[in-house]
Symmetry: C2
Subunit: 176 residues, 2 copies
């Protein structure tokens, strides 16, 4: 994954002054690196025997969707408040920049289904925890949370493990 | 595709009173139907010999990403203004509900590359036309525009063909 890490571009002062944003678009644009990332997430997820995947809007969709297709599973969407048309449940989802609200359709995950959630990046872990909380509201059994990037200096993975010790957390690239 | 069409759920009065919104999430959640949709888009796109795929935020990401992976290609993102961190070009992108602005990174598509753009749905075709215009600003050669759903009563496909007759437009399901 060293080559993938090299391809991630840091954009300074986005979205706020002082923030160095990890821009993953060069990885997506490179067919070989994009495939390598999806292959790694797919191999990891397959071992968890999931029934369904959940992608977090909107960059999470880029990774959750091909992994779900590769394993011949369906996927459900976690979106920001107001985007999903049907009946939803919701949670507060604070992140580094804002206090958002995540929603999921009430019929997205069935009781007891084994769920793997996929996002692009774990920062503080707060929004990951919110996403897990949300799936649990539907009585889904969250067995894994996968992401391409871990901003490990923000302690996100330990934060998630502390709140949800039963969820296997996988990241492919760490920035210390 | 009759079974896929049956699975699409109409949600009334979303996002505005009087609108019957076509909710594709039941298709995504059904592993068999989701795979069938991605297979059909992949087969169509393969014949166009694309160099790269472009997905339109955010539901377009759900379809563009697995098609790109299936054909071992990269993908680039069209996003709403303010979401992409690096240097961008942009176009006005009016849709049925609002006047938006679409952006793409300046390095997303290389000059002369064969590009297939994928979105979830074609309504009036205005935002599809804007997306094609945007890729053409980077001197990409847009060879195809694919979507799951065509609200054909809004005349989107003919609108796109009139403005961009060189782009092959493919939709899997039509609502008359």
């Amino acid at each position: 994954m060293d080559e993938v890490k090299q391809a991630i571009r840091e954009v300074m002062d986005f979205p706020k002054p002082g923030i160095g944003f990890k821009d993953i678009t060069p990885v997506l644009q490179d067919a070989r690196l994009f495939s390598r990332v999806i292959d790694a997430l797919t191999t990891w997820a397959a071992a968890l025997d999931p029934d369904i995947f959940v992608g977090i809007e909107s960059r999470g969709f880029l990774f959750a969707s091909p992994v779900a297709i590769g394993l011949k599973k369906g996927m459900a969407l976690i979106r920001k408040k107001g985007k999903l048309p049907y009946e939803t449940v919701e949670v507060k989802a604070p992140n580094e920049y804002a206090e958002e609200i995540f929603q999921i359709h009430v019929d997205a995950v069935k009781k007891g289904e084994r769920v793997v959630i996929i996002d692009d990046l774990i920062a503080t872990g707060w929004s990951s925890i919110s996403a897990i909380d949300l799936v649990k509201k539907l009585d889904g059994r969250v067995v894994g949370f996968g992401a391409l990037v871990d901003l490990s200096f923000l302690n996100g993975v330990p934060n998630i493990k502390q709140k949800h010790p039963d969820v296997e957390v996988k990241t492919l690239i760490q920035f210390e």
